[in-house]
């Protein structure tokens, strides 16, 4: 028996009804957020945007090998959460992790150097774009096979609980992750063990090349499953750093004070394709256009102007960030290509890789 799933027109994704963004919530201008925090978040978003653009340019020059997954358009989520976290809190991210790594304060030079496969990269060239990690900045890793890291994040949260440190673990993932078993194992486990962990779904509406609603039983892939685990269904505008910040402060504080886990679904959109190889042509042109109009950065710029931050100050920040990105690029390009002396190191804690005598 045929079902409506057999209708071929369903699969012409580019001609589907576009999923348009909700308008900006103007009332968010009046959220109780210190102006200096907002200026800092403006700067963070600029850094994430400009460095990611630079990463893209370096691909085009064939200086970045392999693949890479950019967060262009999704900067407000990493920014809002990072500004709600304590320096000793833990971040777990997916392969789309450049923004989260930078937002926690990891220096941009070694991040770019890692993308270029240089020995001055944060992983010495052994991890690459999909595995960015900086333990000293609380960035506990970018995990490139979706799902597992939700379970690993639970472990970090459990450890903080055992050590009595009040540290909170925040774990980011995409909408596609909500359909893998580990997502469900992790949520159940976190709730049962009352772990201080926050799960953040960055719902950019597409699971790689497929609209998420085509492959998901719930309209909201994360929030729609929350009630099954006794969690609040939280859906926020992921393109508004202020809305992200206040939500993050609430759920991080809840975790820190023994209230257990939360699940947040932040709606956003990728400006580009899934990865380096993907031009993203499966999305309706009018949809892409509407979401580019809902770019979190110009919106935030306008908000700060409304809040009386001088234009000159914002221009100055943009310029300073551009200078940092230039410096980071130079730093990265100056790195050497790691040689054989690095090949066999760090398999084991003794620094080596010996498996026999």
């Amino acid at each position: 028996m045929s079902t409506d799933l057999d209708d071929p027109s369903l699969y012409d994704y580019a001609r589907r009804k576009p999923r348009l963004p909700e308008p900006v919530n103007e009332a968010n201008d009046y959220l109780d957020i210190p102006l200096e925090t907002r200026v800092e978040m403006f700067e963070t978003q600029q850094l994430l945007r400009q460095l990611e653009k630079r990463a893209y340019d370096l691909f085009m020059q064939n200086l970045v090998k392999g693949t890479s997954h950019l967060s262009l358009g999704m900067e407000a989520i990493a920014t809002g959460f990072a500004h709600a976290m304590r320096p000793d809190d833990y971040t777990f991210a997916t392969y789309r992790g450049h923004a989260h790594t930078l937002a926690r304060g990891t220096p941009p030079g070694p991040v770019l150097a890692e993308l270029l496969g240089r020995d001055n990269g944060i992983l010495g060239g052994k991890g690459g774009s999909m595995h960015l990690t900086s333990v000293e900045h609380g960035m506990m890793g970018s995990y490139a096979i979706i799902g597992a890291h939700l379970c690993v994040a639970n472990g970090a949260a459990w450890s903080a609980q055992m050590r009595g440190t009040d540290q909170v673990t925040v774990c980011f993932f995409g909408d596609g992750t909500t359909n893998i078993g580990a997502f469900h194992e992790a949520l159940n486990f976190a709730v049962v063990w009352k772990l201080p962990v926050v799960f953040v779904c960055e719902n950019n509406l597409y699971m790689e090349y497929t609209p998420i609603d085509m492959v998901t039983s719930a309209f909201h892939p994360a929030a729609g499953r929350a009630s099954a685990y006794g969690l609040e269904d939280i859906v926020i505008d992921g393109n508004d750093a202020d809305e992200v910040l206040v939500t993050a402060q609430r759920v991080v504080d809840k975790a820190r004070t023994g209230g257990g886990p939360s699940l947040v679904e932040a709606i956003t959109y990728r400006h580009g394709g899934h990865s380096r190889a993907d031009p993203g042509k499966y999305r309706p042109a009018s949809e892409v256009e509407a979401w580019l109009e809902r770019d979190p950065l110009p919106m935030y710029h306008q908000r700060l102007l409304r809040l009386q931050v001088p234009e000159a100050r914002l221009t100055q920040i943009v310029k300073e960030v551009a200078d940092r990105v230039e410096e980071a690029t130079e730093f990265a390009k100056l790195g050497a290509r790691p040689g054989e002396e690095h090949l066999f190191t760090d398999v084991w804690a003794d620094g080596g890789s010996a498996w026999r005598n």
Binding site: G141, N154, G155, A156, N188, W193, N357
Partner: protein
């Protein structure tokens, strides 16, 4: 000195390490209140309390993920996967995450995790609860692999595994759980990567692991009655691998046999045969022979399972024929 079963030795070894390191924790399905489905963890909840001995849902990815996350943030963990067959359910966390994260992060992450699991056949559980999967783990860079054959070694190697800063997969053999031995008193601590010559001989080197060790030993005793002197080596660890002990033995005996419970293709013996062929070829006087479970899923019926797993009779007959 006290007599302990292999089963009791597991809990004894864990308790020794829990007393030594107050941070060490353990989690797994039915390990706490029930004391484990194989009763290997009886009494640990009572001794160490529920914050250190934790029951979990049937969620193998959540179990090993929690172990990894805790370990990388400073808490050493023992995680139990009830049957080693179930490693396939959480293989991503074992093979992609736990094994590779130290290397991928340029050494930023340290993962003191012991994954305990009940391995092997002989208990008529069929193809999904009887496998010997030590070779799965051996082939993944970044995992250490231990499979003790005696109660004393269970305790000594458990201590070594827990104290090792790297991930260790610790295989406890289901068919050895009832075996008994006198255990020396005091703290018992072994070393990973040390094979043991359990029977000296001059005509053949016989390598075995876990459940195959007592069978290889019995086959060697029978051969001795006919004047064939077989040297039996209990490898104990596959990673790190004590190649030195094997090569020394082959230099003396000039013949090599492996006795493996894992199915034939890419079983651990294949790697040892390869090493010996490359490094001790001129020491050999005859072909190397692998005695393994055939390359089939394990059947459930006792008569069939007994035909599949190398038996004392098959080991004896194979060695005898090869040396004739």
């Amino acid at each position: 000195m006290a007599e302990l079963t292999y089963r009791e030795a597991v809990g004894y070894g864990i308790a020794q390490e829990m007393r030594r390191d107050p941070h060490l924790v353990m989690l797994g399905e039915d390990i706490a209140t029930a004391g484990g489905v194989f009763k290997t963890t009886v009494g640990l909840l009572e001794q160490f309390g529920p914050s250190r001995i934790r029951d979990t849902p049937i969620s193998e990815q959540a179990i090993l993920g929690a172990a990894m996350g805790a370990a990388m943030t400073g808490i050493p963990v023992i995680a139990e996967i009830m049957f080693s067959d179930f490693l396939a359910v959480c293989w991503d966390i074992v093979a992609n995450q736990i094994a590779k994260s130290r290397y991928m992060t340029g050494g930023q992450l340290t993962l003191p995790v012991v994954i305990r699991t009940h391995n092997g056949g002989g208990v008529r559980f069929g193809a999904q609860h009887s496998q010997s999967v030590e070779n799965w783990c051996m082939m993944i860079p970044g995992l250490k692999v231990v499979a003790p054959s005696t109660p004393t070694d269970v305790i000594r190697l458990m201590a070594a595994a827990v104290r090792d800063p790297d991930p260790v997969v610790f295989f406890e053999h289901k068919s050895l759980l009832a075996s008994k031995e006198d255990i020396p008193s005091g703290e018992l601590v072994g070393k990973l990567g040390e094979a043991r010559v359990i029977r000296e001989g001059s005509d053949a080197t016989v390598l075995a692991l876990a459940f195959m060790v007592p069978r290889a030993l019995e086959a060697a005793e029978r051969l001795a009655a006919d004047g064939i002197s077989a040297e039996v080596i209990d490898l104990r660890c596959l990673v790190p691998l004590d190649v030195k002990t094997v090569l020394e033995s082959v230099a003396k005996t000039s013949r090599l046999f492996t006795v493996e419970e894992n199915p034939r293709l890419c079983g651990w013996g294949a790697e040892l045969v390869s090493i010996v062929s490359e490094e001790a070829f001129w020491d050999l006087d005859g072909p190397v022979v692998r005695i393994t479970t055939p390359h089939i899923p394990l059947p459930a019926a006792d008569s069939l399972e007994d035909l599949a797993i190398p038996s004392v009779d098959r080991i004896e007959a194979t060695i005898r024929k090869a040396l004739r």
